[in-house]
Symmetry: D2
Subunit: 179 residues, 4 copies
């Protein structure tokens, strides 16, 4: 059975470099053919993002919540994730991303805000119930020429962590009910 | 082969309730017989914690870093984890908890600081490279009478997340090198 | 000369209770007749908030940046400030709130997310260069019946801190240039 | 009457560069002759920091709490302030730094952790009731050759903010009780 994967891009401008980086990370992490991916470029939904209720937004939220893996990608705005990405996440109920393995990803001009994905986006994803498999991913513009190398190092960390978590699954008590 | 598990307790007073809660969480999460657990009560090491180098502390740090699962438990001090727990984590090199699935756990007087494990301890553990499998665990004193129920709900979340991450392991690209 | 004051409300629904609480706090803090206040209810600008450039938004941003005091008020969404409020703050350049004394204010259902204004909104305002005069203000719905008492306690803290900062002003070196 | 000023240094090694930077910042900010400064190098108290009660530590805590201005200086450990500094702050009761204007200061190897003082130390100081007058101060080793220039820019920001807060003091309602 195919896995579900989502890439959520919080840049108010469409088809951003941030989106491209997130797609590359996904390509390097999972075996093609094992998953179906949906890319949600929130720039396409700025007129709908504050509507409540909204069938369109509800369907997007549901698709991400049902994903096995989701990459949440944002340019750095005021050291943190964008308001647009937050507005998307605001639509979830408590624990709305339970079961999703979530990778926080920020891009930025330089390293000044490199802590952003780990210290601002990762706790928000954890609050929503997601699993965060290691350090948030940050790419500075100055690293664009060696983006493959930077992504490869990150992917090795995520893959290593995912394998280690998997080794725990067999040791879980059998009598734990589904949450 | 047996899994390695660690419980690290950041209370400056030994044998605390915080330690007991962490041990209960472990007991409810993993099948007995599948793991060996080491409980590190940092109250026993306050005279050594700032010594550098220190064989004693180095051995403790290594034991936790090699664990498959670690629970980091702290009473709430100033809304966050204790300085004692931070002093233990400070001894790690960058990414020093890579491969460890880490559960942040705080206890507190009431719900005022319930965000602590998710918003202050979880990003620190992620910064160290650990995987955080969902929301941090918080227990308020007022919940002590129904501690089993509260722990059961949390354990169900962690178990669900761990199983879902495990489903990703088989889809990782085969050509990702070890990190 | 009259002071400038702004109240920025990040609730996607207009005329919210959060707005009312922020207005009450202002009323209790400053002497009427000493200031002119502008209340910006971001619910009125959801269709404009992601437009770039925007004269309307630019004028609002400027009004807040020129304020002596600003209250940033938000309901609690996912433990933190709303995406709508963040989208407004995202429009500032680096250090764009320098010189502004900024009070972070969240409202929430209960105390579970009481750390939000202090641990999530306050660092964002500090990152923008604002001065934060003590703990963020949080009001739980269960406190509505004694809202005056809760506000009075907070106002006493803010006033005390503001007076103490003022005592420092006379000791600043005379040769420090304007930033 | 003379102001009271404190510099608290959280480096486990005494007489650190971090301490020197904090002292330089103070020298550039306040007019000599207007204040008495106490420098607390926590490296001198590692054997006492977890003792409870402790007359020695109590006297140090009180000196800082009574200060008009305090600089809290730490090297970067795991992206954040040290456990040693946290252990000192842990000794305060709730709101224990009310009335203190507190400047968070981190030093680090490069800019990767430049967000540390603003996003990790500043909310902790605000939680303790202190006023934070703008962005936390961060110095990377690579900036050591132009440390005066970096400090001058920061001092200009802090002085500007302190003057602006002072302008608010006269507009506070006269009927606000002391907190």
């Amino acid at each position: 059975m195919s896995l579900k994967v989502a890439v959520v891009v919080g840049n108010p401008k469409p088809a951003s470099r941030t989106r491209k980086i997130a797609e590359l990370l996904l390509e390097k992490l999972l075996d093609p053919g094992t998953f179906e991916a949906q890319v949600i470029d929130l720039a396409d939904y700025t007129t709908e993002i504050f509507a409540w209720p909204s069938e369109t937004m509800g369907a997007l939220n549901a698709a991400v919540a049902e994903s096995d893996l989701a990459i949440f990608a944002s340019p750095t705005y005021k050291a943190t994730y964008t308001g647009l990405l937050k507005a998307f996440l605001d639509r979830y109920p408590a624990n709305g991303l339970a079961g999703v393995t979530a990778i926080p990803l920020h891009t930025g001009a330089d390293f000044t805000h490199a802590m952003g994905p780990t210290f601002t986006l990762s706790p928000l994803l954890v609050e929503l119930g997601a699993t965060v498999p290691g350090r948030g991913f940050y790419l500075a513009l100055s690293q664009m020429e060696r983006v493959d190398e930077v992504l490869d190092a990150a992917v090795a960390e995520y893959a290593g962590n995912i394998r280690r978590v998997a080794s725990l699954a067999g040791a879980l008590r059998a009598d734990i009910p589904a949450s």
